[in-house]
C-alpha cells in the first residue's frame, strides 16, 4: 500500500508531544533494540535510532495499549492481538505516562471528546457550539453514529 511517506517523515520531525528513549521489542524479534520513541501528530508514533531519521511509525488506530510487567507496556492491534510491540521504560512512572498519553492520542478519542463536550455545552446552554464553525451537521460529530 502506497502512502505519503515523505509527509509522515516531516510530521515526525515536528515537535513531538512526547519523546523518550525506551527499549523497544518488535513482535517477531527476540531481543530489544534501544530506540527513541516519540508521539507525534496524534496518530503516529514514530521511532528513530538517532535524532533525525525515523525508522518506523505506528498509526494508533484500533489498537490496544496494555501494561505488561513492570516498566513495560505494549501496543497491539485489533486484528492481531498476539502481535505486540513492547516498550520497556526506565521507570514505572514513565511507563504510566506513556500509557496515558498514547490512549489519548487517537483520533477516535478526540472525536469522542468532541461529541462529549458538544453534548454537555448543549445541555447547559441550549446552544450547539459547533454551529459557529459550521460543522454541526458533520456525520462524524453526531452522537451514536460510531460504534463504541
Amino acid at each position: 500500500m502506497r502512502y505519503n511517506e515523505r509527509e509522515l517523515l516531516s510530521l515526525a520531525r515536528q515537535p513531538a508531544e512526547k519523546a523518550a528513549e525506551v527499549l523497544m521489542r518488535l513482535p517477531k524479534k527476540g531481543s530489544g533494540e534501544r530506540e527513541t520513541v516519540a508521539l507525534a501528530g496524534g496518530t503516529g508514533q514514530t521511532f528513530s535510532p538517532g535524532l533525525f531519521q525515523p525508522i518506523g511509525a505506528l498509526l494508533l488506530e484500533q489498537c490496544r495499549i496494555i501494561k505488561e510487567e513492570e516498566n513495560v507496556f505494549s501496543i497491539s492491534f485489533v486484528e492481531e492481538p498476539e502481535r505486540k510491540y513492547c516498550f520497556e521504560c526506565d521507570s514505572e512512572e514513565q511507563c504510566q505516562e506513556w500509557i496515558e498519553a498514547l490512549k489519548r492520542a487517537s483520533y477516535e478519542f478526540m472525536r469522542r471528546s468532541l461529541i462529549f463536550y458538544r453534548n454537555e455545552i448543549q445541555k447547559m446552554t441550549g446552544k450547539d457550539p459547533l454551529e459557529q464553525y459550521g460543522i454541526s451537521e458533520e456525520a462524524r460529530f453526531q452522537l451514536g453514529t460510531h460504534k463504541q
Partner: protein, 298 residues
C-alpha cells in the same frame, strides 16, 4: 520507513464508518526525465474513503485492500487550476512534496470533499476540542453563578478511556479520563479554529502570475479585517503571507463592496469558472474556510 501497514489497511476496510467516501479521479504523477515537460496528464478513477485523518483509495469500491493512503496532517486543501473542472488539490507544507490532484464528479461533490478533507486533520480536531473544553468551563461557571448554588451542577463524567478505539461512556460512573492536553495555555482567548492554511509564504509578489495562489482564508464573517488571515491557533510555525499588490486591492474592495469585487474578479480573472465567485459569496456571509484560487490575468 516502516509502517504498520497491515493494521492500517485493516482499519481502512473495517466496519467503522467512513467520514466521507466516493469516487474521485486522481491525477497520475509522472516523473519527467526530459527538459521540456511534455506530459499528457492522465487520471485514474479510484474509490476514496476518508476515515479520521486518513484518506485511503481503492482500485474499486469492492476492493479488499487499499491501493494507497494519504495521511492528512500538515496539509491544505485547495481548489486548483487544472484542465479539469471540479479539481482540487491536497498540498503539504514541505515545498518539495508532491500534491495530490483530485477531480470530483460535480460541483457539490467537490465542495463536500474539500470541506471534509480540510477539516480532517487531528490538529483541527484538537483545536475544536480545546475550544469546546474552554466553553464548557465557562458555561459551567456561568450556570453556577446563575444558580448560585454550585452543588446543583454536577459535571458529567468524561468518557472513560479503556483502550484506543474502545473508549466507552461512563454511564453513571467513570473515571474522568479527560481530554486535557498537557500543554494547554490558560485563559488565552482564541478565535474559532480554522482548518490549517498553507504555511509556506507565497513566492511571487508580482501581479497574479502564472501559478495558482492559495490565498484567501476568511475568518468570522462581518469583520472588516476578516481577510487579514488571523493566525490559526495552535500552530507552532506562523507565517506571514505575501500577497500580490493586486490581491491586496481585491481584499480592500471585497470588504467594502462585495458586488464590486464580484465584478472586478470576473473581469480580472479570465475564464474563471463561476463557482470561484460563488464561493466568495459564501465566504462573505458564512464562513469557516474558503480557499480561493486566483489565476494570473495573462
Amino acid at each position: 520507513m516502516k509502517l504498520n501497514e497491515r493494521s492500517v489497511a485493516h482499519y481502512a476496510t473495517c466496519d467503522s464508518p467512513a467520514d466521507h467516501a466516493g469516487f474521485l479521479r486522481k491525477r497520475v504523477e509522472r516523473h519527467h526525465h526530459h527538459a521540456h515537460h511534455h506530459h499528457a496528464t492522465s487520471y485514474q478513477r479510484r474509490w476514496f474513503v476518508l476515515k479520521g485523518n486518513l484518506l485511503f483509495y481503492f482500485e474499486e469500491k469492492e476492493s479488499r485492500e487499499p491501493v494507497g493512503l494519504v495521511v492528512l496532517e500538515g496539509c491544505t486543501v485547495e481548489l486548483c487550476e487544472a484542465a479539469e473542472e471540479f479539481a482540487f488539490a491536497i498540498r503539504f507544507d514541505d515545498a518539495g512534496a508532491r500534491a495530490y490532484v483530485l477531480v470530483a464528479d460535480g460541483q457539490a461533490a467537490m465542495e463536500a470533499w474539500v470541506k471534509a478533507l480540510s477539516r480532517a486533520s487531528f490538529d483541527y480536531m484538537r483545536l475544536v476540542v480545546r475550544e469546546l473544553e474552554k466553553q464548557l468551563e465557562e458555561a459551567s461557571k456561568t450556570l453556577a453563578r446563575h444558580l448560585s448554588n454550585p452543588a446543583l451542577l454536577p459535571l458529567q463524567e468524561k468518557p472513560t478511556v479503556l483502550e484506543n478505539g474502545y473508549s466507552t461512556w461512563g454511564s453513571g460512573g467513570g473515571v474522568p479520563g479527560g481530554a486535557a492536553c498537557p500543554d494547554r495555555d490558560g485563559g488565552h482567548v482564541k478565535p474559532p479554529p480554522l482548518p490549517p492554511r498553507r504555511r509556506s509564504a507565497v513566492g511571487s509578489t508580482a501581479c497574479f502570475s502564472k501559478l495558482h495562489i492559495p490565498v484567501l482564508v476568511a475568518s468570522s464573517p462581518g469583520t472588516d479585517r476578516a481577510l487579514q488571515s488571523p493566525q490559526p491557533p495552535g500552530n507552532t510555525t506562523t507565517t506571514t503571507q505575501e500577497y500580490s499588490p493586486l490581491l491586496k486591492r481585491l481584499y480592500f474592495r471585497w470588504t467594502k463592496h462585495s458586488f464590486f469585487f464580484f465584478f472586478f474578479f470576473k473581469e480580472a480573472v479570465l475564464h474563471a469558472p463561476l463557482f470561484y465567485v460563488r464561493n466568495l459569496c459564501y465566504a462573505f456571509h458564512d464562513v469557516v474556510n474558503v480557499c480561493i484560487l486566483c489565476r494570473g490575468a495573462e
